[in-house]
């Protein structure tokens, strides 16, 4: 019988837990493909994930997974990376997990420039808990907890993380799988904090409020809403408000925290000897 070339990366006997049409399956595949194409030893990668649907992306993969508390995967991952700097650490988080309850850890991980690849799945709503408003929910949108429309404004997470000092920042949607895989590869090889936001479809909760429940339609919507960062510069602000600006926003070389700490140890110990 033919076995899928990526089947070796999946945990036997554990089912993927997502609703039909969820973007998390696409993201899981993109991560695995990036690792496979780079030929990195999967045993040297640790997945640290938060609470929310995105936190389950690694649970059915046959990988080292540390499933943490809500909002805290980056803080746990900081300990893992410093505990063993030879490991590659991937944090899987959602918009609620990473930008609301975990927002503080996100900006400080970026500021510290710790060598962690963070993949933040932004479905613009709290999916697992039933469709409540998120810090990424569009303005005026109705959700379970904004029955009269959202009076708050969404975060631009890439701008936030860029301002905080990350070494690599990019945003794609689940429609842009080729670009996403390429970004994950760059993030995995980057020395420093890498942040990739993936705008993803949630046919059940988000779909309920915009009255589009078919995953394929949602994917095409994401495609139509997306605009490349260079093209975005040519259109006016009003038109831009509805758009998802995609592309690579930051790609720079700054020494990572664990590397800097290793150098500090060498310096301190040099003075003793």
């Amino acid at each position: 019988m033919y076995e899928h070339p990526l089947a070796k990366y999946f945990r036997k006997g554990v089912r993927q837990p997502f609703c039909s049409g969820c973007g998390n399956g696409i993201i899981a595949q993109c991560i695995i493909r990036a690792i496979d194409e780079l030929k990195i030893d999967i045993r040297k990668i640790v997945f640290v994930c938060g609470i929310g649907c995105s936190g389950w992306i690694s649970t059915f993969l046959n990988v080292d997974t540390l499933h943490t508390t809500h909002g805290r995967p980056l803080a746990f991952a900081t300990g893992v990376k410093l505990g063993n700097p030879e490991l590659k650490v991937i944090v899987l988080t959602g918009d609620g997990d990473g930008a609301a309850i975990g927002g503080n850890h996100l900006i400080h991980a970026a500021r510290r420039n710790i060598e962690i690849l963070t993949i933040l799945v932004n479905n613009r709503i709290y999916g697992m808990t039933g469709g409540q408003v998120a810090p990424t929910t569009p303005h005026s949108m109705k959700t379970t907890t904004t029955p009269y429309g959202n009076i708050e404004y969404p975060f631009d997470l890439c701008k936030l993380v860029e301002a905080a000092g990350a070494s690599y920042v990019a945003r794609w949607t689940t429609f842009h799988v080729k670009q996403l895989i390429s970004s994950i590869k760059k993030g995995l090889l980057k020395e420093g904090f890498s942040f990739i936001e993936v705008v993803s479809q949630c046919p059940i909760q988000y779909g309920k409020y915009i009255d589009v429940r078919e995953p394929a339609k949602l994917l095409l919507m994401l495609k139509d809403l997306s605009i490349n960062k260079d093209k975005a510069k040519t259109i006016n602000e009003k038109e831009l408000k509805e758009k998802i600006i995609i592309g690579e926003f930051v790609n720079k070389e700054v020494i990572g925290f664990s590397k800097a700490y290793e150098q500090l140890i060498i310096k301190v110990r040099g003075k003793i000897e």
Binding site: R11, R43, T78, V80, I265
Partner: protein, 385 residues
């Protein structure tokens, strides 16, 4: 790389309780310390930031107490012995992740240098208000180990003991110090380091061994990145770590096992210190900084011929139920001394025979040390002299 002799040589040193704690941790093998500044715990961090790099260890100042304990758990799974320190408000912030450490059976040490509370309270004054929080601060059912030092030397030794118990039982261990001991300076005798017993966690021997959780005899703990494809979760799981949040049988199994691994070994875990028990009809029972005043009062009482005994709890939780009930049920009266409104007092009443008189004595003013003469006066009243 890990030569502790570069930091300290055997001998006598005058040091602060908080420094003794940090030194004890490094000697016990602590190589990761995460912290968020808070009074009166800061000297632990300052000592760590100076000395950990000398032994190849890592000091990191995190953005808050939540991330401090979180990174400690991460570092522990990466294979390092790890610790954080804080005081009341920060300890409260850590509680959710302490629950995660219990659920995932992660060895780590948390130092709470207690101050007056609730809320911001009084940062630099000592109280013993976190005894319940140390035991029951996180949500849900669990068992934990809590130790209470009563001197600077004790802080040094109990920090080493905390790491040993933590590694042995794969459980977070809490050191409940207070502002008095943390900031007090005393002589500490540092012995030859080779004479100190250090316990390291049990590691799996072969790659196909994958029962890493929920053993009453403590499962071996692998490290992340060593090829085991670990699944570690704070959600309900089975012996292999695989998550199941639907089946009550999983909850039942998990809760009983994390309890059993502590209670089955309770005789190995709990420790108390006693003096003058043989002929005593009255006992002064205390722990932590208060025990120093209590011992002084007992000595004063003995000098005037009062047959008073001294019991100090070293392990607060699991409560040394069997030992304490055996001791106290052979006397007539017990005075429990605490710098709070009576947290261990309730436990002592719970385990004592109904005919025994149990009294509670806080200090004259909460947040100050019990004056031995004040204890004496109350003791006299209590025994009707």
């Amino acid at each position: 790389m890990n030569n502790v002799n570069e930091i300290i040589k055997p001998g006598n040193y005058l040091m602060m309780g908080n420094e003794a704690c940090a030194l004890g941790a490094i000697i016990a093998g602590c190589r990761f310390f995460a912290f968020y500044p808070i009074t009166p715990a800061n000297e632990i961090a300052e000592y760590m930031s100076i000395n950990l790099p000398k032994v190849g260890g890592i000091y990191i100042q995190m953005e808050d107490e939540i991330s401090s304990i979180a990174s400690v758990i991460g570092a522990s799974w990466a294979g390092l012995k790890a610790m954080t320190a804080t005081s009341g408000p920060g300890f409260t912030l850590m509680q959710e992740n302490i629950g995660h450490a219990i659920m995932t059976e992660t060895p780590c040490v948390i130092v709470d240098v207690q101050r007056c509370g609730p809320s911001t309270g009084t940062p630099a004054l000592p109280m013993q208000g976190d005894v319940y929080q140390a035991r029951h601060g996180s949500h849900g059912e669990y068992e934990i180990i809590v130790l209470a030092p009563s001197s600077v030397k004790d802080t040094f030794l109990l920090t080493i003991e905390a790491f040993n118990l933590s590694e042995k039982y794969r459980v977070p261990v809490i050191i409940l110090s207070d502002a008095l001991i943390g900031h007090m300076m005393e002589n500490v005798e540092i012995p030859d380091l080779s004479s100190i017993k250090i316990v390291d966690r049990k590691k799996p021997l072969k790659l196909d061994d994958s029962q890493f959780f929920l053993s009453e005899d403590i499962a071996p703990m692998p490290t992340l990145g060593s090829g085991y494809m670990l699944h570690i979760t704070g959600s309900t799981h089975n012996e292999k770590g695989i998550r199941n949040v639907y089946d009550p049988a999983y909850v039942n199994n998990l809760i009983y096992k994390i309890y059993a691994k502590i209670h089955k070994h309770i005789d190995d875990i709990v420790k108390i210190e006693t003096r003058y028990l043989d002929d005593s009809k009255v006992l002064l029972l205390s722990y932590g900084s208060v025990a120093r005043s209590a011992l002084h009062a007992v000595k004063l009482a003995r000098r005037i011929g009062l047959k008073v005994g001294y019991v100090r709890l070293i392990t607060l939780w699991p409560f040394p139920e069997k030992i304490i009930s055996n001791i106290i049920n052979s006397v007539e009266k017990i005075i429990v001394l605490e710098n709070n409104m009576g947290q261990i007092f309730n436990e002592v009443r719970r385990v004592s025979h109904k005919d025994i008189e149990v009294k509670f004595l806080p200090p004259d003013i909460l947040g100050t040390i019990h004056d031995p003469l004040y204890i004496m006066n109350n003791l006299r009243k209590f025994i009707g002299e």
